[in-house]
Amino acid sequence: MTPQDLIPIIPELILVLAGLLVLVVEPFLKADKTANVAIALTALLISGAAAVGLSGREQAAFTDMIVLNDYAVFFKVLFAAAGALTVLMSPRYLEASGRHMGEYYALILFAVVGMDLMAASRDLIAFYVGLELMAVSSYLLAGFLRYQVRSNEAAMKYFLTGAFASAITLYGISLVYGMAGTTNYEQVGATLLAGGDGLGVALATALVLVGMGFKVSMAPFHMWTPDVYQGAPTPVAAFFSVGPKAAGFAAMLMVFLTVFEVSRSTWSVLFIVLAVLTMFVGNAFALTQKNIKRMLAYSSIAHVGYLLAGLGALGRAGTDYFAGEAVLFYLAAYTFMNLGAFGILAYLKTQQPATFSYSLAEFAGLGRRSPWAAVLMGLFMFSLTGMPGTAGFVGKFYLFSSVVKADLAWLAVIAVLFSAVSAYYYLRVIVYMFFREPEVEYATKEPISGPLAASLALSAAAVVVIGLLPSWVLDAAQASFGNFFG
């Protein structure tokens, strides 16, 4: 290790230090946790800024375990943004839940570090460590409201299935190591390619795919998702729905494009089949949900289905990384609209901490009660549906475009038809907010907290800007693949 090696991990270093600082400061704070919020937020912003500053550079560090490239930068910025928005929507929510503790922010920071590592790793060990860092933090975050049964249950479910999936991944990784004798992505890929496709490779592909599929809630490894999202604190659920998912895709893209180059035909078919299954499961379950939080959980599964179609297309497209870029772009777009939607849920929860249960019926007449919240929620719903003018549309446009480009037009047709189905349950939220009158009277509302408002405004702005002027994010997504194998 040389000092030079630290450059690529500057963003993570900042976050780790900030996380530790939070833990140190925490005992000195009383009820007011503003300082820790500020620390976490600043750290995330600096980390993101640092990542931006590092863009365009190519560097490998720690004996090629970690790399710095635009791909990693893209995700680091994205994760920092997701973390920052999550942090912004948390304080009031946690206060309302009676569990406003600094550890929360530290855990978020550590989780982001883990995610960063997943995106930046070039070695199975580093990847595994990143994965677990993220996972362990997540388990704790899910159970953060430890006096609440749902939160406990969510943590338990997340933990058990997560550890189970980790073990499966790990088993796959061990087989890879066994076949290749190394854990470096490129070297493994080259060795496996030389050895040819065989039983062991197939088995390892399947095992790793399952383990990572779990993280991104790919069907049929998705079943934890709704329960965990529902039980976890809402900002945490928001974070889960975008962060670990994006990190999972970041790692998945890398691993499958390098390590499993040899079994490309296998995994691309698997992704296509599972994409269809995932779209079906996500949409079919989402349709019956009366609980918005659960509905958003299933909807996130549906979105994973679309993304997996992109991965399938990527597998089909040889050295054309268009589909990969599309996946990156979609993740970015998805991050903002989903965070926004969850942010509205968090806001509503802070309005009625005791009674609000995220049920659809409670959205009735929201358009009258809180017009701004309703309008923003409408925006996010339309974006999730994929209406033009929003980030969701450009994302779908890009993604399905890559699927069509890979001569999988039929898959694109299936995907768009599923997204038409999804319109039904997204619209239902709008129906309740604008077209129905409330069934019960609601108490006078409290003013929205500044950070939460900022979080919502930023998400909405991102959704609209990416929707209308997507070129910036597009360029970034394309740049990340431009020097992917540089």
Partner: protein, 101 residues
Amino acid sequence: MAIPIEWYLVLSAFLFVIGAAGVLMRRNLFIVLFSIELMMNAVNINLVGFSRLHENLIGQNFVLFTMTVAAAEAAIGLAIVTALYRNRRTLMVDMFDVMKG
């Protein structure tokens, strides 16, 4: 003479399946936790065996990380179990189905 790699693999596979079976079938949360540990250790055996086969240390390095992670997981698992038990007074896994559908 060296033990053939297949022996490691078979042993690890057995352990892994036993662990998985435990996760799937045992009702007590603690035993499920142990079963997960068993799965992790199956992987460890694999890694060490391969390390021997390839005559490099990567596998053993990996094992160190795995064990650390397993320890962390175990700690967190216990924490979660504690919180859960406090609220629910039971550790039967199939009792926890407040959220479903």
